[in-house]
């Protein structure tokens, strides 16, 4: 968890903008609280530190997170003559309260050299501090051994106190009392402790160093009561920590959910606990377990961000029950402001075989392109989705444009369709029709004629277009040279008859003069061509 980066932002920001600074300060304190809770959960739940190491871990935890006194410590240590500093004893006390014996002894040594008369007193205290037994991390001693040693040491401290060894120096006397775990002496240093959980750990250090995990709850409760002393009520952070000390994992999660305003912390904590198999799998009302529920909530939140949605995808991938469904719903709703973003979304869908979503997104992009008159883009999206229906739509649009304007738009596209032409029949027709025009333009008339006929007879051309095709045949029929063979002419005539026969009487009535004239002209041209071709084919030379 990289909380520390936040601390780097603050100095640079505060110079510029006080409002931003206070905003960041609030967030820093929230993040610090999160880190505090997280580390405690690691110690108590994940590591499940046993009696002995438990105390050491808690000491580390306190030292890492309670930094209210750091400034003071720094001030004293960096001063020219620390032992003369007015806060000198405060700093020594802080070290003792946090169990930082070596540092405390180091400072005391400075004081000792300044006061030669009380050298003996210092030596005794130093000795006691040096000898204090602490739980070991390795297996060098058992808990009982440690307890025995500690008991002896405790009694020794007791003796020195009662003998009045430290009577002449109130500071040192109070330190000795702290070493003995005297609650009142510790509570006197309330300001230096800053929090009840620091108080708790200090208490444990000096009165129950071999505390067992299950005993924590009692000490925690009493520590909080003693520290707060009825003056202030516990804050949300206190409730959460207390729940942790009581080993009530679900309570911790619940309290965090209430106190924090986003799911980030809770989702990750629950996930960690779940992986350690610490959460009982009691199913929630709607079927999925708590871990999945929280992860789904968190990931859903990510999807509202314009770039973090990509992380949301990974979270959904790790939710076995509902992840896929959530992903399917969310991914279609990502705003696609550029084509590049759409491509990234599509790649994610394709990797997960989400074909419905691929089709739907491509359709949206294609529709947008079509409305903006970007026919090439629209076609490109249809090809990606292998959407034949849309390709047909686009082709119809092209053909409509052609009919209205008499020429093709976007020739660079139609001339270069390649294999994608086969995506839809209409697209194939478009490509072939354009080819016909090209052949005609290159004066390759017989090839053009063959193609034109094929378009109708093979039913590649839609019926609505037959009239146009037949009209296109006119110039070929009127050429000096005979192009259509007899058989081809018969075919054309048949097509024409099919076309006109198909029309009902009502339609014929509605046909304007132009239409009827066209049909008449065609019939005439076809008849003339037939005549010429019969003669030509009948002649012996053929040609």
């Amino acid at each position: 968890m990289c909380f520390f980066l936040i601390f780097l932002i603050l100095p640079s920001v505060s110079a510029r903008d006080p409002a931003l600074h206070s905003q960041y300060s609030t967030q820093v304190s929230i993040l610090s609280a999160m880190e505090l809770i997280w580390n405690l959960c690691e110690i108590l739940f994940v590591e499940a530190a046993a009696a002995g190491p438990l105390l050491l871990r808690l000491l580390d935890w306190v030292r890492l997170h309670v930094c209210d006194v750091d400034n003071m410590v720094r001030e004293v240590l960096s001063s020219e003559n620390p032992s003369k500093h007015e806060l000198f004893w405060n700093v020594v006390d802080v070290f003792v309260l946090q169990g930082r014996m070596d540092e405390a002894r180091h400072l005391l040594a400075k004081e000792a050299s300044a006061n030669p008369t009380s050298v003996n007193m210092y030596k005794t205290l130093d000795d006691l501090m040096k000898k204090m037994p602490v739980p070991s991390l390795g297996n060098t001693q058992t808990l009982t051994e440690m307890e025995l040693k500690w008991q002896h040491w405790h009694e020794e401290c007791q003796r020195y106190l009662q003998d009045g060894t430290f009577a002449s120096n109130s500071h040192m006397e109070s330190i000795c009392k702290i070493l003995l775990g005297d609650e009142d002496a510790i509570l006197e240093k309330k300001e230096l402790l800053a929090t009840w959980y620091q108080f708790l750990v200090t208490r444990l250090l000096y009165s129950h160093p071999t505390v067992k995990p299950m005993e924590l709850r009692f000490y925690a409760q009493s520590s909080m009561d003693l520290f707060l002393g009825g003056e202030s009520s516990p804050e949300p952070l206190d409730t959460i920590l207390m729940a942790a000390f009581e080993f009530e994992m679900h309570q911790v999660i619940k309290e965090c959910s209430i106190a924090l305003s986003n799911w980030w912390f809770v989702a990750h904590l629950t996930d960690l606990l779940d992986h350690c198999k610490l959460l009982q799998s009691h199913n929630l009302y709607f079927g999925s377990n708590m871990r999945e529920f929280l992860l789904l909530e968190y990931a859903s939140g990510l999807f509202s961000h314009h770039s973090l949605w990509q992380l949301g995808v990974d979270y959904f991938d790790h939710c076995p029950e509902y992840g896929r469904v959530y992903l399917e719903l969310h991914i279609e709703r990502i705003p696609l402001n550029t084509e590049q973003k759409a491509l990234k979304v599509l790649r994610i869908c394709e990797q997960r075989q989400m074909h419905e979503q691929v089709r739907s997104i491509c359709k949206i992009m294609a529709m947008k392109a079509l409305r903006n008159n970007r026919l090439g883009s629209a076609l490109s999206w249809s090809i990606r989705a292998k959407d034949a229906a849309f390709a047909t739509l686009i082709s119809d649009r092209f053909l409509k444009d052609y009919c209205e304007r008499g020429c093709f738009s976007d020739l660079d596209l139609i001339d270069n369709l390649g294999p994608s032409m086969l995506l839809s029949d209409r697209l194939t027709f478009l490509g072939k029709y354009r080819e016909f025009h090209r052949l005609y333009g290159e004066k390759r008339f017989s090839e053009a004629a063959k193609l034109l006929l094929m378009l109708m007879t093979a039913h590649i051309a839609p019926c609505s277009f037959w009239m146009t095709l037949l009209t296109d045949a006119l110039p070929l029929l009127e050429q000096k040279e005979v192009i259509f063979s007899a058989e081809q002419t018969y075919e054309l005539m048949r097509c024409l008859e099919d076309l006109t026969a198909g029309k009902s009487d009502k339609q014929k009535f509605q046909d304007d003069d132009v239409e009827t004239m066209k049909v008449e002209m065609l019939r005439l041209a076809l008849a003339r061509n037939l005549a010429r071709v019969i003669v030509k084919e009948g002649t012996l030379e053929g040609s």
């Binding site: 967030q27 929230i30 924090l260 305003s261 986003n262 799911w263 980030w264 939140g301 509202s304 961000h305 314009h306 770039s307 973090l308 990509q310 402001n337 550029t338 084509e339 590049q340 491509l343 990234k344 790649r347 529709m367 947008k368 409305r371 903006n372 008159n373 970007r374 026919l375 090439g376 883009s377 076609l379 490109s380 090809i383 738009s409 976007d410 660079d412 596209l413 270069n416 369709l417 390649g418 294999p419 994608s420």
Partner: protein, 353 residues
């Protein structure tokens, strides 16, 4: 695009992030602090930054001090980097350089997808299929080719000083002659087979007929534009869109490609693969240094060779743990820079070590 989110927490349980796209200039410092793989060990220093409206789709240095930026809003902006006080300012802006034509029926804006500079000329292309020619000091576009393409133009690069190359989303590579007034390409090249969209294009620095393009299927195509209308070689490369392809400017036997699949490949066709060229760089952009190998390999460029067994090509993936897409890369001398969707920028200062 790597936005810099500001974190807000709200009472309703949601998290609101304020989008804040910025153009930033970083200093990567001197050599001396390099790790095992040539990774720069120190932190890049942010020198200055400035807000940018919309996603940054492409950008290029116009000269030592000016940067041209293409935005997803269709605007093209020229930023000036003042080196004396380390600030950035917007010098010139062409709003709606790219937009869909009929404002009544248009559906959203059109992003500007590519920009290329040849001081003082700037050419931009976009989702609207338009090509713009700007000059840095002129307020209006020098030339605009509307509807140059019926599909989206994804990238543009200079072929010669008066000719440009564009690639589009129906797999076509087109040459445009800017001297001519007609709004038609002078040549069109297409991919064989499926018309897979092409996303990037780059021209060989020395051999102007050699062009490389990258497609949506991750395929690298090498073209000889003197002959034919189809690519000379197709190399199966990435597993997803290839976003950028770059020949190394001073050592063009080396090619670099990056992709949505999170990888960045180094293609090496230098004949003596064992002997890596030692680099004397530190030149400015206008100076070119040639490697110790023969300058033009042979008459036939290694890139155009069809025989894979004859000229060994060494291909390396430069990213050990790939996660999210590598969107962009750039190279100069021994230095490689690339950025990913994981909001990270990587600098490799010892590319050929």
């Amino acid at each position: 695009p790597r936005p810099d989110p500001t974190l807000h927490t709200t009472k309703t349980g949601g998290v609101i992030f304020v989008q804040d796209n910025r153009i930033s200039i970083w200093s990567v410092g001197d050599l001396g602090n390099v790790g095992l793989n040539g990774e720069y060990q120190g932190e890049p220093q942010l020198l200055c930054d400035i807000r940018h409206n919309g996603d940054v789709m492409d950008m290029q240095f116009l000269d030592q001090e000016r940067i041209v930026v293409a935005s997803s809003t269709g605007t093209v902006t020229v930023f000036h980097h003042h080196q004396n006080n380390q600030t950035l300012s917007a010098n010139q802006r062409w709003e709606k350089a790219h937009s869909h034509v009929d404002q009544d029926t248009s559906c959203g804006g059109a992003a500007c997808t590519g920009v290329i500079c040849n001081n003082p000329e700037i050419v931009t292309v976009g989702e609207d299929g338009r090509i713009n020619l700007f000059r840095a000091d002129q307020k209006d576009a020098v030339r605009t080719i509307d509807n140059a393409d019926s599909s989206t133009l994804h990238a543009v690069t200079f072929l010669r000083t008066t000719e440009i190359l564009t690639v589009n989303s129906i797999g076509q590579l087109k040459i445009w002659d800017l001297r001519q007034q007609r709004n038609e390409p002078s040549q069109i090249f297409s991919l064989t087979g499926d018309r897979v969209p092409l996303h990037c294009v780059d021209r060989h620095p020395n051999q102007q007929h050699v062009v490389a393009t990258g497609g949506q299927d991750g395929m690298l195509s090498v073209w000889d534009i003197r002959q034919g209308t189809m690519p000379v070689s197709l190399l199966n490369a990435h597993e997803a869109e290839m976003w950028e392809v770059h020949f190394h400017p001073s050592n063009p036997d080396h090619l670099f490609t990056c992709s949505e699949d999170g990888s960045l490949w180094h293609w090496d066709t230098s004949t003596d693969v064992a002997e890596k060229p030692s680099f004397l760089h530190q030149g400015g952009r206008s100076t070119t240094y040639f490697s110790h190998n023969t300058i033009n390999q042979s008459v036939v460029s290694a890139w155009l060779s069809n025989d894979p067994t004859k000229d060994r090509m060494e291909i390396t993936n430069l990213i050990p743990n790939q996660t999210l897409s590598v969107n962009s890369l750039d190279i100069l001398g021994p230095c490689l820079v690339y950025g990913t969707d994981a909001e990270a920028i990587y600098v490799n200062r010892q590319l050929f070590a």
